[in-house]
Amino acid sequence: MNENKMSVGAFFQKYTMIIALVVVVIFFAILTGGKNLLPGNINNLISQNGYVFVLAAGMLLCILTGGNIDLSVGSVVCFTAAVGCVLMDNNVNMWIAVLAMLAIGLLIGTFQGFWIAKLHVPAFIATLSGMYAFRGFSNVVLGGYQVSVTNETFLNLFGGGAKCYVPDFIRQAMGTTGKPNLTCLAIGIVAVLIFIGLKVRKILIQKKLNIHQSIPAQLATTAIISAVAIWLTLKLASHKGFPTVLIWIGLVLGIYQYITTKTAIGRHLYAVGGNEKATALSGVKTRNVYWFAYASIGLMAGLAGILTAARAKGIDPTYAEGYEMDAIASCFIGGASAYGGVGKVSGMIVGAVLMGVINQGMNIVGVDSNFQKVVKGLVLLLAVVFDVLSKRQKR
């Protein structure tokens, strides 16, 4: 068995963004005297950026089809949240409101996908008009005012309010209180065990099929990721516990990881982005692939609407402006190609975390919010320039 040896240069190229993430975390840790690694701030990093992970997962599928984006998500998030909040405000059952928000998101995604897939309307124009229209509709639904959510179950379940953490069942059963939060620890350990199990299974399958992959390298990455996960769990456990929003993020990321790596439609997304004509000639209904991508981001916008409404305990017609930019930036920083066909969920996660760490670090240091925008723009540009240049060298 000859293993793929990796040169130092190739190693850096493959893991640039992870290295950048580590460097940035250390940089801000020094600058803030370790404040950004406090359990409370780690917890905020996750809760504040919940919508980024969810939207970026949807956006990744659109970008995979050929660098297409969805500019309407910010407005759609606001619109679905507005409808949901108004429903709950009128004492509609919370679950009906949640279902309505998801359904509306999916419906909007399907509607926009129809124009893009069936009539070949360029994606950025179809979604640009959605961006105008749904921002207007949100204003109409809200009557221009803020509508708040008081439903405790809704807030707790979707990451808002003071009690949006998984209750500590284990300590309750033991009849004690205090920290660390044992349920949180248990969830973390189970998740890591499942992850290791999946990895080992993958390595065994590779061995059986005689696929040459470096086993030590795979074991090393598995160990590092597990260690980071355990460290995160410890931090969260010593704060208030496992934030409920992390359940939704984990669920979405897990499903999208599965779709992109294990399913036929997932492979079709990459194929369409790589070479649409060849894919069509191979018998794939390429237009349906587009439709799927835009319906999926619509659904994610619905979910992000739920998370945003819960986190802000209500919705205002100006909320969620610029969310599309966050999602797009996360994908590109995470290595998705702006020409389609390349990009992974894991990369997108790194991109989203990197953006989140930079934002939070700047907040703690007290950088002016206007300069934060400048830094955001520069990070995005640097990431793409780097991506383009490193690919050029490979050729």
């Binding site: 640009l128 229209a133 206007n370 723009g377 793409v384 383009v388």
Partner: protein
């Protein structure tokens, strides 16, 4: 056999269906205009409405020309122009108010900054191959932040330039101002001269085509075209003459639009933009320097953005953090509604002008009938979508 056989020009018969298709947006514009005139009991037809239509939408025409050139190269857009308008406005305010620079120096400095930005942006897009909308998305984020932080020195987040009368006179106000309701003679003269020029150009074109043996329209079509064109110009200028005179910004708009109409239709470089958008690989193989075309498209966009920034600064007499918000969307919409192909290679300055006017008329009309501002956004979104769908469907049938 003679070598220089001049082909006999064929006369293109006007058939109503294709005529309707070609001028669909124009027809829509007329219908929308009539609709709003009826809805507002004729307020749309008052001299003041013409004046505000031009003043409010000047930036759309100017940025639309730049966006057209970008879109021609293959549906590429510039998302940063709105934020650059904000930044340049802030810089202009700082120069004229904080540092006490004169209008001339400030204008040159702003143009220089705009051009420097354009060179950088063009280089990143053309030579580093960063996809245009990502490069400009970064600018969209960064320059709004930079502009706002420059303005944050003042408590109100804005710098007023209303004391620099020179600057205001160059980019805003009215030339040869007369009281409202009185017929402004210079304005009327300009209108009649412009109308005469339009007729002249149409018939000179016809003569050239006949001489070279190209296909020409029926004579009556050209006559109708020139009569209508001249009539519209004279009518608009008549209304403006009653509203007080020639809006200064109209001269800027007209200058930019004419220059770009000339570049796109009569020059080699203009044709290269269409070729690159039609098939970039074929263009490259035919010896067109495609990278240079991309570079010029974005350099040019930044140049026009500087002009738009100065007209905007003069119109509001102050630099605001909100200046230029959504300008990029308006410019893109104007192009797309005006029939510029979102995948490049097709579109004209005239089409863009019709698109921009249509959007301007809709905006003004909705404002005058007191439509809720939120529904205005919804209508805007649907107009954009409808225009593109219409464009795509009508092209599908042609094939």
């Amino acid at each position: 056999m003679e070598k220089n056989v001049v082909k006999q020009s064929t006369i293109r018969k006007a058939d109503p269906v294709s005529l309707l298709k070609q001028n669909a947006m124009l027809l829509v514009l007329v219908l929308v205009y009539i609709f709003f005139t009826i809805m507002t009991q004729g307020r749309m037809f008052r001299p003041n409405s013409f004046n505000s239509l031009i003043n409010q939408n000047a930036y759309v025409f100017i940025l639309g020309c730049g966006m057209l050139m970008c879109m021609l190269t293959g549906g590429n857009i510039d998302l940063s122009c709105g934020s650059v308008v904000c930044l340049l406005g802030a810089l202009g305010g700082t120069m004229m108010v904080m540092w006490g620079w004169g209008a001339g120096v400030s204008i040159l400095a702003l143009l220089a900054i705009g051009i420097a930005y354009g060179c950088g942006l063009g280089a990143i897009i053309a030579y580093v191959h960063v996809p245009p909308w990502i490069a400009t998305l970064a600018g969209y984020l960064a320059f709004r932040g930079l502009g706002t932080s420059i303005l944050s020195v003042s408590i109100t987040n804005s710098i007023s330039v209303k004391d620099n009368q020179d600057f205001l006179n160059i980019f805003s106000g009215t030339l040869f101002k007369t009281p409202e309701g009185e017929l402004n003679i210079p304005c009327m003269v300009l209108g009649i001269v412009a109308a005469a020029l339009v007729v002249l150009v149409i018939f000179k074109n016809r003569a050239t085509r006949l001489k070279k043996g190209y296909e020409v329209d029926e004579l009556k079509m050209d006559v109708i075209k020139s009569v209508l064109g001249a009539a519209v110009i004279v009518l608009v200028m008549y209304k403006l003459a009653l509203a007080g005179g020639i809006p200064t910004v109209l001269l800027w708009v007209a200058g930019v639009v004419l220059v770009y109409a000339f570049i796109t239709s009569k020059t080699t470089i203009g044709r290269h933009f269409y070729v690159v958008g039609g098939n970039i690989e074929a263009a490259r193989l035919s010896g067109v320097n495609t990278k240079r075309i991309m570079f010029i498209a974005y350099l040019n966009m930044a140049f026009l953005t500087s002009i738009a920034a100065m007209t905007t600064l003069a119109r509001y007499t102050a630099a605001n953090a909100d200046a230029g918000k959504n300008f990029e969307m308006d410019a893109i919409s104007a192009c797309v509604v005006g029939g510029v192909s979102a995948s490049g290679g097709a579109g004209s300055v005239l089409g863009m002008v019709i698109g921009a006017t249509l959007i301007g008329v809709i905006n003004l009309g909705m404002f005058q009938v007191n439509l809720d501002a939120n529904y205005q956004r919804v209508v805007k979104g649907f107009v954009l979508l409808a225009a593109v769908v219409f464009d795509i469907l009508s092209k599908k049938k042609q094939r």
